[in-house]
Symmetry: C2
Subunit: 184 residues, 2 copies
Amino acid sequence: MPAKRPPVPLTRDRIIEAALHLADHQGLRRLTMRRLGDALEVEAMAIYHHIPGGKDALMDALAEHVTTVPVADEGADWRDRARAWCRAGRAALLEHPGVLALALTRPPRGTAAAMLREQCDSLQEAGLKEATTALRALRSYVMGSVATEIQDKEQESRQDPTETFERGLDALLTGLTGSHVNLS
Amino acid sequence: MPAKRPPVPLTRDRIIEAALHLADHQGLRRLTMRRLGDALEVEAMAIYHHIPGGKDALMDALAEHVTTVPVADEGADWRDRARAWCRAGRAALLEHPGVLALALTRPPRGTAAAMLREQCDSLQEAGLKEATTALRALRSYVMGSVATEIQDKEQESRQDPTETFERGLDALLTGLTGSHVNLS
DNA sequence: GCGCGTCCCTTTACACAGTAAGGCGGGTTG
DNA sequence: CAACCCGCCTTACTGTGTAAAGGGACGCGC
């Protein structure tokens, strides 16, 4: 009987990393407790010791991982800060396309939710009326953009996705800028 | 042995309808071939006769169903038309929140894809430069908006979602309007 | 040294998932 | 009436999530 203790001890972070790799390369459908165990050279049930709550908790953790982006809140103009958030959020989501469905479905919790509140405060301090509305619009645009990008990834697209994203982001930001002046 | 023939014959449409109902009320996770069969008063394997390709094809069909919205292409201003599309798209997605993850993940095909091309042409004929970019931005915003709406549905939100959606949509439309005049 | 808890991991077990293969009856056609 | 075929059922197999219990290695007190 080979060594009972695995060569390197199991860790919540190692589990999440392996799960992301598996989901990205083989699809969420093939992310399975047993396969995840195989990837970690461990039996499937070992995972439950580090992630209480089972697969559903794992999914939550993955969603939180790809929606949690540490980004400095710098920049004079609120538009620059918002742009930085949006770019960082898009990049984080694009890094792990396999778990996008989770990120879009599960509500933000923990660190991700805290960051949202922080950003909302930041916008309000910048003097922006209806900061929550603006933030929701930006968040929606980012999440939707990544979704469409990943959707269209398998079919040909002669346009640079980043360029397209920036164009739309600019449009949304300028539109939000005038929102407390213009009337629909 | 009870009657072999079910009271009402099975149909692809009936299957899709029952699947949507099940996913919306019990979650995608509980949408199961056998449970779907139970809901239709039929054995699970009967479904395969009407939906070749199994569960994955069913998922595709559900995604296509909630992303296919018949909407008249009327209105003088292209902004009014785009607004109508976006409202209709949002409404259709919100009607079946259970399958949102499918709609956001699977690329548009068939009728849905055709409608996208049609809308793109419509924008171009309206004299809008970069119609594809604009359309992508709008589509992204709609998809993301529905995602955030459904995410936040389980927690309290003192703001009217429709109002918030319209505000962001207005902002995006005004931003897109000036996009071929302004420079970033 | 030796027992003994404690922590991780494994083993075993079970209910339920998707679905390939084949059976069977009843309506339609000759 | 016979042949046929369509639509549904039955059976069977592999794979999945996970509860429950087992077991081995490490630390501790004595």
